[in-house]
Point group: C2
Chain length 645, copies 2
């Protein structure tokens, strides 16, 4: 097994600021709130059923299963989030809830290791008969991820042993050997969970199983077609394929032959994340090359400016290259989390600032947009423009919510946000043998042991509102290591000082990181300045939906304008090319954000639909707010891409 | 009955030019081609079944009905087109085909007057049980319209008597009297056919029936709900409502309470046309006011620049006001024909150039676009931008064809185009007691009797390519009447001369028409000059999809750019504000059209998706072709609305 580069959550603490604030919101509000939701105690929210399903499966009560065949995964993701949250910060009440739940899981798990309340309670005869559609392996993956997190948090093995029994059952059933089934998950997720389990248990067998699932995928004869025939399933194509065939599941061709991201975006990103893990663990250069290619295509032709993917609402899928419309954007929160997951693993292959840029873009814009500032309402779909009356009417926008909602019948996103924001430390930095590579900047404190010497690193910054970052190092004794600082691609003119002395960047920059290799002593101070002018981004001309439009970005933050600031008809507002735009921190707005202000023009209302004369315009005070903070002031219009005149 | 203002087709003849050319194409190619299609003799086209259905219903052969429950309407529309085509120009072979078909209809019609081959052959027990969904009254309307046209063309009464028997059956069944049913057509069409029948037979009873259908519509208790209950139909809402309830059929509220166009666009336009007819026939000022209101809302908030309506592909419906996207435009050919039908009737209420402008816009752009220059391939949906790979993939564009096709399973549009282009004379002018109001300009010859004096009017023009129009009058003796010439709204500076002398327009302009009232003598010559500069149209700022974009129009013609002229990625082409655009007649292109040319800019390809720097551009020779002529050079990209820089 390769050494993990992931920072143990015990050894990193976020301070004040956006990321620390969201992490504390998850601790104080989101995790307790979602526990209520999983227990069906949130008035007005769609029913979850998760905990009652588990109690019935554990024989503790009677009743009917509620929900979908992947309902357990909502609970598993919450268990993972709650475990992350416990790491390094005791909470006896939460620990007791987790213990009780794990006890239920232990009793619900069948003697052979099987665990899935839907199939146990509703359709035992359908177990393992429909891997294509019914998410058994996906749910198993989430239980395994949660167990690994719980083990890391508590050091106890109860949950991990549940996961091992489940993984071993799967490992016995599936594989290339005589008597084993050659099939794979309809929804990738188990693959990456198996790599985590392998690392937690130091058992490479699980990596081999993940590699088997990845390579078996899409091979001829196609396992899903064979399974459908075995079921006597006469339906040519299930509805959820949305006429895109097995490409929907990345299962029409082997992944090593894929040249574009395909199908359901969350599946594709989870699969890519697992492919990267396996390529690294097995030193599989061919697979690594394929991962690099797919990542490049995603970034070059499929990524929304908010860092999300999946432009096709019909099946939550990747669309045509460069088809990135604002209005019918899907940009599912879970798919953006998938971008972060894949990006973080790409950084394990090689730290490259351009990859971390994408991770940061997805985090600060698409992922954070998935949750209201209250922590209690969520977006599944994240459009880049909103006209509520039109969105409510359009069939192709039927899954768009015009405001965040308390829960979803298919509630993948809310607990996925919780587990992601509860584990931000995993994304902040990589721990490499040579030292520390910092990917994200936030007020924080990190500890590690460098060749036996304990090191403490304190970062002070108002990032992402400010680009001034101060880092103080405190090794218990002088020690040599590399400290690498990401130089974001959005920053044209970064400046670096060490102990007050300017450091020329060109000689030390590798892969977009300023790599400072020296013997560090206590009190060493690094100052990184990342100037954050307001930028107007233009899209590649191949993106036909964005011709003539600009998006505003400052630092990693993408901006939007809202009806709350401008009234209706945001499309009538245009930014003159030469108008200066100023950034201003407004401590009273949306919990304190930097807004972008300036003078724009607003087209005056005309009586008819079409006129040859240029539209008369009048000046309008312009204010843009961070996109991820939109819709915290009531339902209304919103636009990311603005017309430039 | 009010006097008809419609020019008898016998008394009008189109010369060379666009309209005359299309009329001759219909005569020489379209009508024979569609006859082959209706007889299932076009290789590669979707099967029609119309004539075989009729032969089976007439007892002439055996076999199975093919098609949908409104299949007969395709035949009826063709019979109407063929009858129009016979008017004034004998064609013994076509006449014989019509005679034989009418003989079949006579034998197929049941003793009580019923005529609909689907219900007669497939579901006799379902007759009249489902007016909401099953189009019986719609099909009856098309048979009646065809019979009226045949009567006007031939003077024979055979077909008209079929129509009278059918109308009388309906008139006995439906109405306000004891024992009659209070219901109405699910798809409006019969209403306007009844007004035509009333005029052809001088029988006001049919107008009263049309008025009953119109006023019963949407009343409580709702007839369609009562019928569904009587059928024991438990389905809450049929699929074709597309979650828009009875509004889809304009049947949720009475038409006199409607304030916006609603639901299925073709239904709405046909209903509005009938409402205008009935308002005029019955001097119903309340209904007239409602028609004016709905017409205004359509023109102010729902009309595509090509003159079409119906922006919502989900159910072929009107969308939200100002929601007029180019890519997911539906703009069904039949709906644009409905715009022409309603406009022509609005002109009967009062001749207003602004209304005729809309009729002309729909004709030259949306309606003509519905048919290939060959006359053998058709569009149902008319998008305003096309990227073939994206359109083929997008679910919300699944009814879009990227190229015209030979026929449709639901083939409403092709014979609708045929009957419309075969009766252009009806749209050219109004014959009022005071004289003649010219709505459209085309090389043509018209005859009429003015207070007993025969008058001949010859118009010479290259319109719409040129705005020079010469009109020579030839009354057999001097006679006083008004000759009114529409002054199009797109023309800023019309000039008029009579016998070489300049006529000041302001004093003679009424409702946008220059009304020349004098005693005309043979040889009088009128010269109307309508300058046609290239105009850049801007949309109302409320149309968010079109912010920052311009459409090119010259005279009544809306332009588009095509991949055939510019290669791929048309979105990368921008028109500088100041670039001069020239019109040039190209006799060799697309059968001879005026193209618009100039120098534009094309964005150079960039490597990434987003960049802060303005896009580098390079000069590109720009050529736009008339929108309705697009896709006559193979499948490719197309754009009407262009980015302006």
């Amino acid at each position: 097994m390769k050494p993990s580069t992931t920072w143990p959550l015990q050894d990193i603490r976020l301070g004040r600021g956006v990321l620390g604030g969201r992490a504390r919101l998850v601790r104080d509000v989101v995790i307790p709130y979602q526990w209520e939701a999983l227990n069906d105690r949130v008035p007005g929210a769609e029913r979850s059923g998760c905990m009652s399903n588990l109690r019935i499966a554990a024989g503790e009560t009677t009743g009917e299963f509620h929900g979908l065949f992947w309902q357990d995964s909502d609970l598993a993701k919450w268990l993972e989030a709650a475990s992350f949250r416990l790491t390094g910060e005791p909470d006896p009440a939460l620990l007791a809830e987790l213990d009780a739940t794990i006890a239920l899981l232990t009793r619900a798990q069948q003697p052979d290791g099987y665990l899935n309340t839907f199939f146990q309670l509703v359709a035992p005869e359908r177990k393992w008969t429909n891997l294509r559609d019914e998410h058994e392996l996906y749910v198993a993956g989430h239980f395994i991820e949660a167990a690994v997190a719980h083990h890391a948090a508590t050091g106890t093995r109860g949950f991990l042993e549940i996961a091992v029994r489940l993984a071993d059952l799967i490992d016995r059933m599936f594989g290339p050997r005589e008597g084993q089934r050659r099939s794979y998950p309809g929804h990738p997720e188990l693959e990456l969970a198996l790599v985590k389990l392998a690392r937690a248990t130091d058992e490479p067998r699980y990596v081999r199983l993940a590699a088997f699932f990845i390579d078996e995928r899409g091979r001829e004869p196609n396992a899903f077609i064979a399974e459908a025939e075995a079921r006597g399933d006469e339906e040519k194509e299930p509805w959820h394929f949305h006429r895109d065939g097995l490409n929907t599941l990345q299962a029409k061709i082997p992944v090593r032959k894929q040249t574009e991201p395909l199908g359901h975006a969350v599946r594709q990103m989870y699969l890519l994340a697992a492919m990267i893990d396996v390529a690294r663990e097995l030193d599989d250069d061919g697979l690594r090359t394929r991962c690099e290619l797919l990542w490049s295509r995603i970034v070059e032709a499929h990524l929304y400016v908010i860092g999300g993917v999946g432009a096709d609402p019909w099946g939550e899928k990747f669309g045509e290259p460069y088809d990135l419309p604002s209005d019918r954007a899907y940009a599912e929160t879970c798919a953006a989390i998938g971008v972060m997951m894949a990006a973080r693993r790409m950084l394990d292959l090689e730290p490259r600032a351009a990859v971390a840029d994408v991770m940061e873009r997805a985090l600060y814009n698409n992922v954070l947009a998935g949750m209201e500032l209250s922590g209690k309402r969520f977006f599944y779909v994240n459009p880049l423009s909103m006209e509520p009356a039109v969105a409510k009417r359009r069939h192709d926008c039927r899954l768009v919510k015009t405001s965040r909602v308390p829960w979803f019948g298919c509630a993948c996103c809310p607990p996925n946000i919780a587990r992601t924001l509860a584990s931000l430390g995993h994304y902040m930095a990589s721990r490499l043998p040579a030292g520390v590579w910092l990917h994200l900047y936030a007020a924080s404190e990190m500890r590690w042991s460098q060749d036996g010497t304990a090191v403490r690193l304190v970062m002070e910054t108002d990032y992402p509102w400010s680009g001034e970052i101060k880092i103080r190092l405190g090794p218990e004794a002088p020690v040599a290591f590399a400290l690498a600082l990401r130089l974001p691609g959005w920053c044209g003119n970064p400046q670096l000082r060490v102990n007050g002395e300017r450091v020329g960047l060109a000689p030390v920059t590798r892969g977009g990181y300023a790599v400072l290799e020296r013997t560090w002593k206590s009190g060493d101070e690094i100052e990184l300045t990342l100037p954050m002018p307001v930028e107007r981004l233009r899209a590649n001309p191949a993106v036909s939906a964005l011709a003539g439009q600009v998006a505003l970005q400052r630092g990693p933050i993408v901006y939007a304008i809202e009806e709350a600031d401008h009234g209706k008809n945001l499309a009538g507002i245009s930014l003159p090319r030469e108008t200066p735009l100023r950034a201003r921190h407004d401590p009273d707005l949306l919990g304190g954000v930097v807004v972008i202000e300036g003078a724009a023009r607003r087209a005056q209302t005309t009586p008819g639909l079409y006129q040859p004369a240029p539209l008369a315009t009048e000046p309008v005070a312009f204010r843009a707010v961070p996109y991820a903070w939109w819709n915290n002031r009531g339902e209304g219009e919103m636009r990311v891409w603005l017309n430039e005149i």
